[in-house]
C-alpha cells in the first residue's frame, strides 16, 4: 500500500488556527458555544480548537467528547467498540461545534447528531472537520473545513494526531476500502 503525506504538523496547526478564527467570526465571539469532539480523533481536535479559541477570545469554552458507536446505523454489519462519552456540561441552548477528523459519507455525523440530541437540545449544531474527502451518502455539509481532499472511494485517509499517535500528519493511502 502506497501512502502519500498531504499535511504535516505545520499544515494541521495552521488549518486548526484558521478554523478557530472562522468559528469565532461566524459566531461573533465564543459566548454560548461549546465544542464536542467525536471519539476518538475528533476529541483531541476539539480540545485543541478550544485552546485556540480561548487564546483568541480570552475566555474558556466548554469542550467534551462524544462516542457514537451506540448510534451507528451499521451495527448489524460492523460492530464498533463502544467508549464512554464525556460531556460534563449542559448543551441545551448552546451552539455546539461538532468536531471530527474526516468527513466522508456523512453517516458518522448523522449518528453524532442523534447522540448529541440525547444530551440536550442545542440552539444550533455546526460541523468542523480537519479533512473533507467527499463521497457523501447523506445531505450533510461541514461548516468549517481544514482541507478539502478529493479522493477515490478505495483510498484511505490516515489522520495522525500527537495526542494519540505521537505526531501530527495526514496521509492518503491507496488500497482496498475497509
Amino acid at each position: 500500500m502506497t501512502e502519500t503525506q498531504v499535511m504535516d504538523a505545520g499544515d494541521v496547526r495552521r488549518a486548526l488556527t484558521r478554523i478557530a478564527h472562522e468559528i469565532v467570526e461566524r459566531n461573533k465571539g465564543a459566548a454560548g458555544i461549546a465544542l464536542v469532539g467525536v471519539v476518538r480523533r475528533g476529541e483531541p481536535l476539539a480540545a485543541r480548537l478550544a485552546g485556540l479559541i480561548e487564546r483568541i477570545e480570552g475566555h474558556s469554552v466548554a469542550c467534551g467528547g462524544l462516542d457514537i458507536a451506540l448510534y451507528r446505523d451499521d451495527y448489524a454489519v460492523r460492530r464498533h467498540e463502544a467508549r464512554a462519552s464525556s460531556i460534563s456540561f449542559d448543551i441545551t441552548g448552546k451552539t455546539v461545534i461538532l468536531v471530527d477528523d474526516v468527513l466522508f459519507t456523512g453517516r458518522s455525523v448523522r449518528s453524532a447528531i442523534d447522540a448529541l440530541m440525547d444530551f440536550g437540545r442545542p440552539a444550533a449544531v455546526q460541523l468542523a472537520v480537519l479533512i473533507d474527502r467527499g463521497h457523501r451518502e447523506l445531505p450533510i455539509r461541514a461548516d468549517f473545513v481544514g482541507k478539502n481532499l478529493p479522493t477515490q472511494r478505495t483510498e484511505r485517509i490516515n489522520v495522525k494526531l500527537a495526542e494519540l499517535d505521537g505526531e501530527d500528519a495526514v496521509a492518503i493511502a491507496k488500497g482496498d476500502e475497509k
Partner: protein, 307 residues
C-alpha cells in the same frame, strides 16, 4: 473479543478475555445510565424475550431495563402465564419463541442445567438468568464489575462469600468468575450450607466466620434460601444469626476498607445485621445499578453481528 451469537450459560469455563470484554463494555454503558436520556438506538429492531419460571424482581426488571435502554423490543413471559402450564414441553416453548423471530432469550428456571438444554434446541443466543442451584452468570459479572469499580482490580483480592453457599447459584458464578479474574475466593458457612463438592472448587473453606473474614477485601453475604431447604440445615435462625450473621462486629476481622455486598433480596437481621447494608462500605445498591449496565453489555455483545 467477539461474543456475537454465543450463549451465556455460566461463568465456569468462560474465558478471562470474554469476562473482561463484558466488564469493559459495562463500564461504557454505566455512562449511558448517568444521562438524562437513558436510551440509545443500538439494538433497535432486535427482540428479546425474558422467560421466567421463578419469581424475580431485580433480575427480570434489570434485563428489561437493559433491553429497553438499548432500544430492543422486550417481551416478558412468566412461566405460569406461558403454555408450559398447559403441558407444552420446554423444547416446544423455545422453538415457538424462536419461530416468533426472537433474537435472544433470557431464561430463569428452578431446574439446574435447563438453560444449557434450551440452548441446544435453538439457534439464537440463550442467557441464563439463574438456573436452580447451578449458575447466575450476569449476577457474577455485575458483582465482578462492582468489585473492580471499588478496588480498581480483582487480581489478588481476598473475597469471602458468606452464608448459604449450598443453594446459591450466585455463589457458584462468583466462584468461577472471580477465580478466573485472579481473586482468592473463600467460602464461609456452616458445613450443612457449604457445597458437598467444595474440595473440587477453586476455593478455601471456613466454618468459622471470623476466620473466614480475616483480612478480606470483599465480604459477599448470601441470602438464606429457606424456600430451597427441604429440611432444617441449621438449628434456629437465631443461632445462625449469632454464628454467621455479618454484623459490624464481625466485619472487624476484614480489612478496614473491605466492601460489603449482597445480591439481594436481603433478610435484614438474619444473614446480615440491620445496620450493615447502610454502611458506607456497603455497595448493595451499586450492585443493582451495575446489573443494568452489565446486562446492557451482555445484550450488546451477544446480539452483535460478526465483524
Amino acid at each position: 473479543m467477539n461474543l456475537a451469537g454465543r450463549d451465556l450459560l455460566g461463568l465456569e469455563g468462560l474465558e478471562k478475555e470474554a469476562i473482561e470484554t463484558i466488564l469493559d463494555n459495562a463500564t461504557t454503558f454505566s455512562e449511558v445510565l448517568r444521562r438524562d436520556v437513558k436510551k440509545v438506538p443500538t439494538l433497535r429492531g432486535k427482540s428479546v424475550i425474558t422467560m421466567f419460571f421463578e419469581n424475580s424482581t431485580r433480575t427480570r426488571s434489570s434485563f428489561e431495563a437493559a433491553g429497553k435502554y438499548m432500544s430492543a423490543d422486550v417481551i416478558n413471559i412468566s412461566g405460569s402465564a406461558s403454555s408450559a402450564s398447559k403441558g407444552e414441553s420446554l423444547r416446544d416453548t423455545f422453538l415457538t419463541l424462536q419461530a416468533l423471530t426472537a433474537d435472544l432469550v433470557i431464561m430463569r428456571t428452578p431446574f439446574s442445567g435447563a438453560c444449557h438444554q434450551a440452548a441446544e434446541w435453538v439457534d439464537i443466543p440463550v442467557v441464563n438468568a439463574g438456573d436452580g442451584m447451578h449458575e447466575h452468570p450476569t449476577q457474577g459479572l455485575l458483582d465482578a464489575l462492582t468489585i473492580r469499580d471499588a478496588k480498581g482490580s480483582i487480581e489478588g483480592l481476598k473475597v469471602a462469600i458468606v452464608g448459604d453457599v449450598l443453594h446459591s447459584r450466585v455463589a457458584r458464578s462468583n466462584i468461577w468468575g472471580l477465580n478466573t479474574l485472579g481473586a482468592d475466593v473463600h467460602l464461609v458457612g456452616p458445613k450443612t450450607l457449604l457445597p458437598t463438592d467444595a474440595d473440587k472448587l477453586p476455593v478455601t473453606v471456613h466454618t468459622n466466620l471470623e476466620e473466614g473474614l480475616e483480612n478480606a477485601d470483599v465480604v459477599m453475604v448470601l441470602r438464606l434460601q429457606l424456600e430451597r431447604m427441604a429440611k432444617a440445615l441449621f438449628p434456629t435462625p437465631r443461632e445462625y444469626c449469632n454464628l454467621f450473621g455479618v454484623s459490624k462486629k464481625a466485619l472487624r476481622a476484614a480489612k478496614p476498607d473491605a466492601i460489603v455486598m449482597h445480591p439481594g433480596p436481603m433478610n435484614r437481621g438474619l444473614e446480615i445485621s440491620g445496620d450493615v447494608p447502610d454502611l458506607p462500605s456497603a455497595v448493595i445498591e451499586k450492585q443493582v445499578t451495575n446489573g443494568v449496565a452489565t446486562r446492557m453489555a451482555v445484550l450488546y455483545l451477544l446480539l452483535g453481528a460478526e465483524g
